[in-house]
Subunit: 374 residues, 2 copies
């Protein structure tokens, strides 16, 4: 189980397949995010129809509501939400810090053992440890689960990042220990941290890689840093991660970031961006990123992205603009499915071009057109 | 065009077919309401999948936004919203009074020629006349269009209802005149008014019926009156409407009201109820009307209504309850499609039972079970 095979390479980018108990994922892959067990506005059948290979859910959210025990009683997340294909859960590490209150304030307290935090929903108190995060993910039952890490705030000192890194590495070892006996059912990925410090990223990559887990992730990026910084941190990390293990760049998801990540040898991505911007009226097509609210679409009979095939792609921009302005749910559905299909289709094109050895030309041509209207 | 054929009778209830330019409607029929050109949360493909025969849109709303001219420029409502089957638009009469401001206040001013009102969206001033209401509906292009009527407030005096009725009848004649030359493309239905006064209902039915339009509607009911009053007004009206014309009871839509209406010989119904209650977490099944928020559904793996087949009917009550509590859009979609399919399926059962001459038994059995949990 969890065999990762590389099929072709083009520069540092590669295509591959990752086996899981719920099927095989083609990489590089973009994973739609269903925070609470639902990719906002879409059914799981629609996700299948747009060729989603794997979806992600958030442990932090499901732990708070409805609770992992209810999901376990309902035979796990796959069964409960009717999703037949692979699934990944994060560990809650990132959300504990971003949603559970601000550091230094009383709402989040971190020590060597774990993290005390306050629910963003009802203010109730909770305590997460590496062991607990893994137990919850065992109950949820996703194919791929993530280690519990500390994602230090971007403005922390290097000293603090070092301390957080030591803790993250200790916690990773505890996660691996807690996961013993479950390795055939669920793949545990470690997470490289280290902020924007190349030496810490290297140190972290070497440590995480040394545990020989079925996959390695890069965390703590796409949190407000520049594209150059993100790129530099990926470059500082990749050489220290096994060639023959999938590499997952967490929380990354604009078309340009996906292309840049693949170029560096990243295999997996996730991001709430495509559905979040959809809810604000923004859609992707090959000519760029547009707001459906714009006057230019008032009488536009074209679909959002004429080149894409997906359920609902025959509705016109004129109609969707009207629906969005009137706050009709259907607008959010149609914009969301368009944006997800756009990224999934982009990954399909990326894979085809890696296989043909034309990734660089594809990237250049794609971005030229995508950025042409800016 | 617009030929209405009665196929079988059982007491006063009957099954039939109504031909329109966009296909044939089987009656009795329930028409889902897509106020702004969208049945809230669903795609038109989903409406086809649940066997919706005809949908309704609101002239008042579309006139204000995006404006009927935009829809005409986009080849009419059918094309613009991608709906291939029959469609009905109301005249805006009801909404002008219910949304355009309260009578006696400055926001709605009615005279013999028409109605001045204030947009509920932006406070802009508008003027609707019978002619204008018909012209807008010509631009929208629905198969069935409605006369512009005055729906007097339920607490008006009989004297006022008489005055409003005279006006409504005058307006109907002006609508018929304005519609000249369009009769083959769009069927104009007249509307019987008269409040809760049996003699006025009779007078109105006789007048409306005398114009020999392709269909007759009963308006001004389901506005807060008792079931007995609604029933009495239908009884006072039906005998004065042609047997061989479809009868449309406007704005009516609970399962019990549909059964009572069919029993009296009604052929068409519309109501926002099934999707509106869905957005508040309420769903129908054969055992009654339930709130998905209830604790009893926490671990309930059954679908909302196990007997119904529709896209999404495999999602469990447990999952949908979680989605609803978390304000996930998908909950509203699934509850809405369930409720619409429930009413459409009820009409299918009603038609089958009329054809078998078992309508009364069906009604009794259905309501016994439906009301058993009350």
């Amino acid at each position: 189980m969890f065999e990762f095979q590389i099929h072709s390479k083009d520069g540092l980018s590669r295509t591959g397949t990752l086996n899981t108990p719920h099927g095989t994922i083609k990489t590089p892959v973009f994973m739609p995010v269903g925070t609470l067990g639902s990719v906002k506005g879409l059914t799981q059948e629609e996700l299948l129809a747009i060729d989603a290979e794997i979806i992600l859910s958030n442990t932090y959210h499901l732990f708070l509501r409805p609770g992992e025990k209810l999901i376990k009683e309902n035979d796990g997340l796959h069964k409960w939400i009717n999703w037949p294909k692979p699934m990944l859960t994060d560990s809650g590490g990132y959300q504990v810090f971003s949603l559970g209150g601000k550091r230094g304030q009383s709402r989040v307290k971190i020590d060597e053992n774990g993290v005390k935090f306050t629910s963003h929903i009802d203010g109730s108190k909770h305590y997460l440890t590496p062991e607990k995060a893994i137990q919850i993910q065992h109950d949820l039952g996703a194919d791929i689960i993530m280690a519990f890490d500390e994602c230090a705030p971007a403005d922390s000192t290097k000293e603090y990042f070092k301390k957080a890194l030591t803790r993250t590495h200790n916690w990773l070892e505890r996660c691996v220990k807690e996961h013993k006996g479950h390795e055939e059912k669920q793949a545990l990925f470690g997470i490289v941290q280290g902020g924007l410090f190349a030496d810490l990223r290297k140190e972290s990559a070497e440590f995480v890689n040394s545990l020989n887990l079925p996959g390695n992730a890069i965390g703590g990026l796409s949190v407000g840093e520049s594209k150059e910084d993100m790129d530099a941190m990926i470059k500082a990390t990749i050489p220290h991660l096994s060639e023959n293990k999938p590499r997952y760049l967490m929380g990354v998801g604009t078309p340009e970031d996906l292309l840049n990540g693949v170029e560096q040898g990243i295999d997996m991505f996730d991001c709430v961006n495509p559905t979040r911007i959809a809810r604000h009226g923004t859609f992707y097509n090959f000519d760029g990123q547009f707001s459906i609210k714009n006057e230019q679409f008032k009488n536009d009979t074209s679909p959002l992205c004429p080149e894409l095939e997906y359920p609902g792609n025959h509705y016109s921009r004129s109609y969707i603009r009207h629906l969005f302005r009137e706050k009709e749910m259907l607008a959010l559905r149609l914009l969301s499915i368009n944006n997800l299909k756009f990224l999934i289709n982009l990954m399909q094109l990326i894979r085809a071009n890696i296989e043909q050895g034309t990734f660089q030309e594809f990237k250049t041509t794609f971005l030229e057109r995508f950025n042409s209207k800016k």
